[in-house]
Symmetry: C2
Subunit: 338 residues, 2 copies
């Protein structure tokens, strides 16, 4: 830590999720109970596999967002509990299928379910969790909420297919990439946040503000993840540095480095990410190229801009303890990447 | 054809789906239009892959059931059209994921989507179709219908996981096997038929009768499929004879042969289906063992019993052209196996 860092830290403490975690603790306790209850099945393999993921300590930021936005809008009921649970199930199902598609070995610092139980079980238990997710949301009886969630599930899958089509293609544009992450990542953040307005029957402008907040926070989340894959610590990531590179996944740090690269550098990206011919030293070279063109910094700059937009969206709401906790959460998501 | 067959045919014409096809033609035309519209996506790969399956000439018996039961109960509206479409999307998504899990090469007489576009795309486009399925059913705005369909989707996945857990285990009991096909196949027939009562707001006893009809017909459908896999023509199946055997799938003809088999025969089933050590002549041996113990006939006898139960369930309703068409459909499903 430099002297300057120390001075900065005196004025601006490292943001944490603590306030949001504290304030949502009671709700999240209810959600965790419901998650465990609804992951149950008389078919042995289902709860085993589901609990492997559920117990693996994800931050559950999406259901937490539903709790926080519901309370931000003054909600005092409990309908947001099953809705938030439904969001987490949808997310967990996506993770199971993602790992199969990406052939990932690790998830949240543990072996991926597909390594332990096989790809087949991961596909099918993912389908079961999707089904449970819909059952839970139907049980709330809100057609508005159902519209949001069913729409999100189709958009997320669309984003995953877009990403699959762009796999191994380092020449895609930044705009195309942003369309992918808008669908595959931000859409569920949008839904999670929008539900807060829906359970409160809030007017359209507040609903839109929460959607904007969710969308921008979702993009922050993904861009920071992209950046961490090339320079983070495995402990922060819950996966290995270089996983995206090894999976041939095209992310913003690569797209920006490719665009500015020499012919030789572009050939490097085409050979490694394009054709999957990856040798021992290639991850080091890839990291050096992101350093040469400062594309991690560029990715983080963009993340910060989206973070600002997310904060602006929150200004629609009274400046109380809930909106402060959500602002801290935005800062926390960005800070992970530094 | 023997002389006796000719005599029999004079009294009892071979049952066909024609009456049901004729009577539902207008509704099915609407459903086909909606299927094509809802399989659309700006992401190129989605409609291509979806249409490969959609255009491959499945009989669409599930949505047809929803149409027929709706009309049987006197419905004159159009809400059953999107609900039936939703059923077909759910089914199509299941097929895509099934083929990945079973590593099947063929589907409905064409190369499986996973062979043409890969397992990854099949998983993700399946997810997209599931999402679209939920979107379509939400658009109808019936919470009752949503309960039925979301419940069915979880039960189907549960059945698929049960089947996966029983893969390679020829010692499972007939009861365990019936539990698998009740979930993985009959549940969607139950939902398809029950929706007919729901769109009409019919009383519980009629709803139950349609559920019974759907369940029994679904079991007929699966048992006949099981039988055809060991003695059918590939053209009737849309897949290769022996696919179940090669996939290590345990079906009723095998379970019954295993139970009655000698120690040596049981070892044969354990080596082939249990351990996947399948050699050139093994399919022939398997077929001979099903012949030795008449397990295809036994499977078909059971199918006929379930068919009778399905017919009895229909007696709850007036004996009109719709119930006759449905009775013919039951006969047709059984006759496929002969």
């Amino acid at each position: 830590m430099t002297a300057l860092d120390t001075v900065n830290n005196q004025y601006k403490p490292t943001p944490t999720l603590e306030t949001l975690l504290d304030k949502t603790a009671e709700d999240m306790g209810r959600i965790n109970e419901l998650i465990l209850a609804e992951a149950h099945s008389s078919v042995d393999m289902i709860p085993k596999l589901a609990k492997h993921l559920i117990d693996s300590g994800g931050k559950r930021i999406r259901p937490m967002l539903t709790c926080a936005t519901s309370r931000l809008c003054g909600y005092e009921g409990l309908d947001h509990i099953p809705l938030a649970t439904s969001i987490e199930f949808l997310h967990t199902a996506t993770l199971l299928h993602d790992d199969v598609v990406d052939e990932s070995d690790m998830r949240r610092g543990k072996q991926a379910a597909r390594i332990l139980w096989g790809n087949q079980a991961s596909v099918l238990v993912g389908d079961y969790l999707l089904g449970q997710s819909f059952k839970i949301m139907v049980s709330v009886g809100s057609l508005e909420a159902l519209k949001i969630l069913s729409n999100a599930s189709a958009i997320i899958a669309e984003g995953e297919v877009m990403q699959l089509a762009a796999t191994n293609n380092p020449t895609i544009s930044e705009a195309e990439y942003m369309a992918v992450i808008n669908s595959k990542t931000a859409a569920l953040f949008v839904a999670a946040a929008e539900l807060g307005a829906v359970v409160n029957n809030r007017p359209d402008d507040e609903r839109q503000a929460l959607k904007d907040f969710g969308e921008n926070l979702g993009i922050v989340f993904q861009l920071v993840d992209d950046a961490l894959d090339y320079h983070g610590e495995a402990s922060k990531l819950g996966k290995d540095v270089g996983d995206d590179f090894r999976d041939g996944k095209i992310t913003l740090p690569v797209i920006l480095a490719y665009q500015q690269g020499t012919k030789e550098e572009q050939d490097f990206w085409k050979r490694t990410l394009g054709e999957g011919q990856i040798e021992d030293q290639d991850l080091d070279t890839a990291i050096k190229l992101t350093e040469k063109y400062k594309t991690i910094e560029e990715t983080m700059n963009r993340a910060r801009n989206y973070g600002e937009k997310a904060k602006i969206a929150l200004q629609k709401f009274p400046n109380n303890a809930w909106s402060e906790a959500l602002q801290d959460a935005i800062e926390f998501c960005i800070e992970r990447g530094n």
